[in-house]
Amino acid sequence: MNLKRILAISIVCYIFVLFFFQVDFTAALEAQSKINTLVEKVKIPNTVTAVYLRSRVYDTLFEVIVFSVGVLGVTIMLKAEPRSELSEQTIFGTAQVYSSGIMAISVTIFLYVVLNGHISPGGGFAGGVILASSVVLYGVSSSFIKALSHYEKLRMKILENIALVIILSLMTMGLSFPNFTFGLNEAQSYGSILSGGVIPLINLLIGLKVYAGAWKMASEFVVRRGTL
């Protein structure tokens, strides 16, 4: 046991000492021309979103599928596992009030981050995760059964599936026709919400999809392991 530890530490130290003397820091990076091209072609202020959803959208397609497979994998793998009891959750009054407040704020942040994803920092994934984590916090600290029921009430499952299909088809359109933007770019002034063409729509759908997926994943965990 001790030998193993010493061996492990020495090997890892050796590797990283070699690393430090090898890394070559002389970079030939010039971002200006890339940014010029991106702004000229996509016409949105946030160039990261332009790369993420236009020039390298093929990667993002895979990313969306990886996330969906991950969520479904978690759900299906945990299906046969024993459930924990949820009914007897002790609720603190203050926590309930605060977490309801946080819920309301986070819905606003979700919409802002998602719809402004092409103008200011943000995007579908971050927005969806923000909303999901705040709902999980609400459920864990206040009433988990209430939080669980909204998934059925809002028909999130159907919404999520529709969102996935539309995302995939929009991305395929973007891959097949390089100039596919719904033609909104030209009509709107630079920097307004609608100037993104389909980008705000894709961001919103990714946000919904990620929110539903992350919430589903977290709720499966809570159902199996119990609340706080």
């Binding site: 010039e30 390298r56 599928i65 390089p178």
Partner: protein
């Protein structure tokens, strides 16, 4: 056009993920995507091109197609169609077929991409599907095999990301062509980062556990296709300048893996363990040569190893055990023939695909490594004699049509490949190898006992991997 090789299966797979309650629709979608892949592949055979998706220049993702990708794309189609046929009429749900469709898309994507980061993304999708498929039976052993695989491979992929980060810092693009002007460090990081999934001895010690414990339909995918991704990338990267110096290293580690894998396989007692250890050995052959012949050996290995794993899995499901001792006299002739064909191919018998491609590898290697590979070949004969002399029962057994078809596709692929490429000048060597191997098996039979599996523990596997990583980094120092 070539882009749709991956896009169509991904789209249909996304639809099947949604419809995972309706098994029949997902099966139809799987076959549809297999058919479209075949059609698109037929249109592209013989071409050689590279292009950027959507005219983005260095900002976009480049894809391409050439002769190196053909064996791998063919292997994907053959193995996945056989697996899907074999899985019909068993109790698989729609999610399984959705995963198979997505796997088809992601594997096709790896074999056509020319972008370093896209390799990461599509490889990661394929591996996530692999993780879920290994644990599909929900048994303790399977879950532990998955966790081991996930931890080691996730660590390796972070090294890969550091490597491509260095490439980007130097060149400003993720395209493969940037690899021409790199120094040695990114090459080492990229190779070791990906090699956790390559199936080489010492580098991926999680493999026997995962391959031997997975369910019948999944083992062929893991052994036939998942480990081939890294083999393809090794062969592909060798075309670029900064990887050339690694060729000798590939030769050494490939030969070592070929011999060590055979040593473990000869001593194993369980059928799927034997096959899993032979993955080490055959991948060793491929990596040692790393040329066009190796690419075709990857194809033939995918087919005959898939056939062997599928047959062994079906027999295990029927008899309830995978110890070869207890199979004696219980195997039906209809299961014995695929087993025999697969074993003949892996041993390199003339007229099978293994003979053609193994000779191609042997021709391209010179020096002392060749003798070790001959030893490994004889060892292969010894260890597969266990499966050949297993004894056939006279009982009647009804084989369902889909299994007939599944076996038929693979057996036909083995023989067609073997007959097209048949060449007389190595026939005598192959026959001599088989003739020495079988008597040796009967002599050594008593001394063969399973070797300890101490290297396969999680911590030891991680330490071995990092040890080899350290050795490779030492070579970078001038």
């Amino acid at each position: 056009m070539i882009l749709y090789l991956s896009i169509i299966p991904l789209l249909l797979g996304g639809v099947s993920l949604i419809l995972n309650q309706r098994t029949k629709i997902t099966i139809v979608l799987t076959f549809t995507s297999l058919l479209t892949s075949i059609v698109i592949l037929l249109f592209n055979i013989g071409k050689n091109f590279e292009m950027v998706i959507g005219n983005w220049g260095t900002l976009g993702i480049s894809i391409g197609y050439d002769e190196f990708a053909l064996p791998f794309l063919l292997a994907v189609i053959v193995v996945l169609s056989a697996i899907t046929l074999n899985s019909l009429q068993k109790s698989y749900d729609g999610f399984f077929y959705a995963l198979i469709t997505l796997l088809l898309g992601s594997l096709n994507a790896v074999f056509i991409t020319r972008d370093l980061f896209n390799v990461y993304v599509s490889f990661e999708l394929a591996s996530i599907i692999g993780f879920i498929l290994i644990a599909y039976g929900r048994k303790g052993k399977q879950i532990w095999a998955t966790v081991k695989y996930m931890l080691i491979s996730a660590l390796g992929f972070n090294f890969y990301l550091i490597g491509i980060g260095l490439v980007y810092m130097k060149s400003g693009t993720f395209s493969f062509s940037a690899l021409d002007y790199m120094d040695k460090l990114p090459a080492v990081l990229i190779f070791t980062g990906l090699s956790v999934k390559s199936g080489l001895f010492l580098l991926s010690m999680w493999l026997p556990d995962a391959h031997a414990n997975a369910i019948t339909e999944v083992s062929p995918i893991l052994s036939g296709l998942m480990v081939k991704i890294e083999d393809y990338l090794v062969i592909r990267f060798l075309q670029y300048g900064s990887f050339q110096w690694l060729r000798n290293f590939y030769l050494v580690i490939g030969t070592f893996s070929a011999v060590a894998g055979v040593l473990f396989a000869m001593n194993a007692k369980k059928a799927k363990d034997v096959l899993a250890y032979h993955t080490f050995s055959q991948i060793g052959f491929i990596i040692a040569a790393s040329n066009m012949a190796a690419a075709w050996h990857a194809f033939s290995h995918a087919v005959f190893k898939g056939l062997l794993f599928m047959t062994a899995g079906n027999i295990k499901e029927r008899l309830g055990t995978q110890k070869i001792q207890e199979w004696k006299g219980k195997i039906n002739i209809k299961e014995y023939i695929p087993l025999l064909v697969g074993s003949a191919a892996i041993m390199g018998t003339p007229l099978t695909s293994g003979f053609v491609t193994k000779n191609g590898i042997m021709d391209s290697i010179s020096g002392p490594a060749k003798y070790f590979l001959v030893v490994a070949s004889i060892g292969t004969v010894i260890s597969f004699s266990k499966l050949i002399f297993v004894g056939v029962s006279k009982e009647k057994m009804k084989l369902r049509w889909n299994m007939w078809l599944a076996y038929g596709i693979m057996v036909a692929a083995v023989f067609i490949h073997g007959i097209i490429g048949f060449d007389t000048h190595h026939t005598l060597d192959a026959l001599i190898m088989i003739a020495t191997g079988i008597p040796l098996f009967f002599m050594l039979k008593k001394f063969l006992n399973p070797l300890p599996r101490i290297f396969e523990r999680l911590d030891n596997a991680l330490i071995l991997y990092l040890l080899l990583f350290g050795i490779m980094l030492t070579f970078v120092l001038e």
